[in-house]
Amino acid sequence: MTSFFETTVGLPYGWAWTVATLVGILVIALPLMLAVAMIIYADRKIWAAMALRRGPNVVGPLGLLQSFADGLKVFLQETIVPSSANRGLFLLAPIITFTVALIVWAVIPFDVGVVVADINVGLLYILAASSLGVYGVIISGWASNSKYPFYSALRAAAQMVSYEVAIGFVLIAVVLWAGSFNLTTIVLEQRAHIFGFINGFGFNPLLFPMAVVFLISSLAETARAPFDLTEAESELVAGYQTEYSSMAFALFWLGEYANVILMCALNALLFWGGWLPPVDWAPLYFVPGIIWFLAKTFFFFFVFSWIKATVPRYRYDQLMRLGWKIFLPLSLTFVFLVSGWLMLQRVGVPA
C-alpha cells in the first residue's frame, strides 16, 4: 500500500508510509468495532439458546441491532465521576483498556501480507501489549476509591500476571517449532505439518496439550467465565467497573470483547493454521484465506460462549492453583519435550 501512495499519488516515502499505515489502522479498527458489536449479539444469542430462551429479538430483524441500541443508550447517559475518585486516573483507565485492546491487532495477519505491521518480534509484541492490559484494570480499581473495585483490581492483577507465565511458555513451545516470532511465518510453518497434508500445530501430539493450555489460559487472561472473578457479581458488585457509567463503561466493555476476539484469533493462528484450510488440498485454497481465519476465530468464540453458558465460576484459590501448580509445570515440561524432540531431529545433521 505504501508503494501505491508513493507512485500513484506521488507522495514522498515518509508521508506515503504514514498515510498507508493510517489507512491500514482504520481498515482494521473500524470493522473490529463492528465485529465487537455483532459478537456481543452472538454471545447473548448463544447463551440464550443454551438456556432455552430467545435472547435479543426486538431491535431490528432478529434483534441484530440490539448492540447498537445499547451503544446509543450508554452514549446518551451522563458520565458520573465519584467525588472522592482520583479524577484524572479514573478517566484514563477505560482509555488505556480500550487502546491496549486495539493496538495488539497491529500484528495479527488476516492472510499472507494482510497485516499492518509485519514485524519479526510479533509474538513478543502481543505478549508486551497484553501485559499492558492489566493497567487499565488496576488503575480503575485504585482511582475509583471504593472497596469492591479495589479488591477486583488486586484479583485481576494477580490473575493476569499468573496466567501470562503459562501463556509465555506455551508461546515458546510454538516458537521453537516454527523457528520464528513472526506470526505470518508461524502460520506458514503449519502448512502440511502432519503427514504432509494436515495444516496446524494443534494436530501435533506434542503441541496439542499446549493448545488446550492456551485455550484455558486465554479464558483466564481475558477474565471470561469460569475465571471471571474480577467481576464476580455475587462478591464484588461489578468489580472494577462498579463506579463507571456511560461511555467510560462502554469503553471497558468494548475493550473486553476486543480482547476476547483477539484471544480467539490467536488460538486460530498459533495452533489451528490461521488462514490455511484444515487440510492441505488444492480445491480448499479457492476459499479466501480470510474466510477460513474468521471461521476459526468464530468457532473459538463459540467455545468461549459455550463455556460461559455451562461452567460455574472457579474459586480464587482454585484459579491460582490451576495457573501455578498445574499449567506452569505442564507447559515447562512440554517446552522441554518439544526442544528435546527438535534437537533429536538434528542429531548428525550439520548445524
Binding site: G14, W17, T18, L89, I119, N120, V121, L124, Y125, L127, A128, A129, S131, L132, V134, Y135, I138, I139, W142, F150, L154, A157, V161, E164, F181, D317, Q318, R321
Partner: protein
C-alpha cells in the same frame, strides 16, 4: 523525518516523566510516571533497531515488575507530610548519587568513542538482515555460554533464597486440600433422616 520526530517525542516524554516520577506528591502517581518512562524508553530502543530489547523491557519491567510495584505502593498506608520531611535530609546523598551516575555516563560514552569499533556498526552491530533475537542468541550460546549459564545459576539461587525466606509454617492457617474436595461424594456429605417431631437431629 518521522524517525526524528519520533525520537524527540519519546525522548521528551522519557525525561519529563522521569522528572515527574521524583517530584509528584502521590507515590502511586510516581509509579505510573515511572511506567510511562519505561514505555517510552522501549520506544527509543525500537528506533535504535533493538526491537527484542524493547519488547523485553515492556514485558519484564512494565508488564511484571512495575505491576508488583504498583501493587505494593497502592496498599501502603502513607503519610505524605512525613514523606516530604525527609527530603532535605536525603538531599546530599541523592545529589552525590546523581553526580556519580552522570560521571559514569560521561566516562562510558568517552570509552565507547575511544575504542576502535567500526563506526557504522556501533548502533546495530549485526547485519540488518539477521533478526535481533537470532543475533543475541548466537552470542549468548557461543561466546558467552558459560557466563550465561552462570547468570542462570545465580538467578536460581536467588529464587530458592526468596522462597526459603518467605515460606514458613503457620499453625493457624487452614489450607484447602483439593484432592479431598474432589474425591468427596454426595453420600459422604448428605444424610437422609426421617426425623420424629420434637427431637433435634444428631450430628
Amino acid at each position: 523525518m518521522i524517525q526524528t520526530l519520533a525520537f524527540y517525542l519519546f525522548a521528551t516524554i522519557v525525561v519529563a516523566s522521569a522528572a515527574l516520577t521524583i517530584t509528584s506528591r502521590n507515590p502511586v502517581h510516581s509509579v505510573l510516571w515511572l511506567i510511562l518512562a519505561f514505555f517510552n524508553a522501549a520506544g527509543l530502543m525500537v528506533l535504535c533497531g533493538a526491537e527484542f530489547i524493547a519488547m523485553l523491557l515492556v514485558i519484564v519491567y512494565v508488564g511484571a515488575v512495575a505491576v508488583l510495584f504498583l501493587f505494593v505502593v497502592m496498599m501502603l498506608d502513607i503519610d505524605f507530610t512525613e514523606l516530604r520531611a525527609g527530603f532535605v535530609r536525603y538531599l546530599p546523598a541523592g545529589l552525590a548519587l546523581a553526580v556519580l551516575l552522570a560521571v559514569e555516563l560521561v566516562v562510558g560514552a568517552y570509552a565507547w568513542t575511544a575504542a576502535r569499533i567500526d563506526l557504522a556498526k556501533r548502533i546495530a552491530p549485526t547485519d540488518v538482515a539477521v533478526p535481533n533475537i537470532e543475533a543475541i542468541g548466537r552470542l549468548l550460546y557461543s561466546r558467552y555460554l558459560y557466563v550465561f549459564e552462570g547468570v542462570g545459576l545465580v538467578l536460581l539461587v536467588a529464587m530458592i533464597g526468596a522462597i526459603v525466606l518467605t515460606q514458613r509454617k503457620r499453625a493457624d492457617a487452614k489450607a484447602q486440600n483439593i484432592n479431598r474436595q474432589i474425591n468427596r461424594r454426595a453420600k459422604d456429605a448428605i444424610r437422609n433422616v426421617n426425623q420424629p417431631i420434637g427431637q433435634g437431629v444428631e450430628l
